[in-house]
Point group: C2
């Protein structure tokens, strides 16, 4: 099955997570007017005794067409990806249909934009499209099993 | 008073906060070996009923020599700065001497490196040295007063 990666659509993405980007107007100007603060842009949600932590992910850049073999979700926590560079990256999300990803959608982010997948939302693994593939990740730090994978019977090919 | 900005020294910085950067060895390889995870790199610490949140700061770039007029600290929480670009930025920290910053030190970060100021550590405001001055910030979301400023009688000039 072939799927086209679309330009990022914040309204569609809202059902899967938060777009972390500067809005039209800052919530507050700080530091004597020299810094705009866009406040509290992501719903961080960590179940049980897990808590927020900052990690770094350094991922191998991929290219389009990209073969999507699996998707994953984290039942115990949200997961935010913040690019430590100005390159777009590929975001793949899906609805859930009885424990399986359904209605898969692919987007290419604008530069300098992060995403926060809400708790238990199906998403593709981190797929930068250029080097460096370095991201700060804010997700759940805890010892419980927080990863569910779904491997497709047939790969999906995501193209431009 | 003049002060020289030094190359970033993670060992000295450790008394003020955490360096958020890829270590020599990842803690774990994930995503079928295609992504290195450097796990839980910052001590997030939020007092009272505050909690972690992700905001964006968009700050006006500054230049060296930079006139440091004030420093600030956050008594109720740590504050992490994650550059959404590959440019170095200026980091200013100080020890505390009876409620006043003392022994001020200035560093220039390497590219793709973030910092997390620990709770109540004196630091300068966000000072990118190039545009864009865009950073993701992980700090305390809450309603209490969480900002203390100290204005110097005499400015400090930070130079290369």
């Amino acid at each position: 099955m072939r799927l086209q990666a679309k330009p990022f659509d914040a309204q569609i993405f809202a059902q899967f997570g938060d777009v972390i980007c500067a809005r039209q107007m800052p919530d507050k100007m700080i530091n004597q007017g020299k810094c705009a603060r866009y406040h509290n842009l992501a719903k961080l949600d960590f179940v049980g005794d897990g808590r927020a932590g900052i990690s770094l992910f350094d991922a191998e850049p991929r290219a389009l067409p990209y073969r999507l073999e699996m998707m994953e979700r984290h039942p115990l926590g949200s997961q935010a990806f913040l690019p430590l560079h100005e390159h777009p990256f590929l975001v793949v999300v899906a609805e859930d249909d009885n424990g399986q990803p359904s209605n898969v959608q692919a987007f290419i982010t604008p530069p300098s934009v992060g995403v926060n997948y809400h708790c238990n939302i199906w998403h593709g693994v981190l797929t930068p499209l250029e080097a460096p593939g370095l991201f700060a990740v804010v997700d759940r730090i805890g010892n419980d099993k927080n990863l569910e994978e779904f491997w497709f019977d047939e790969d999906m090919v995501i193209e431009k």
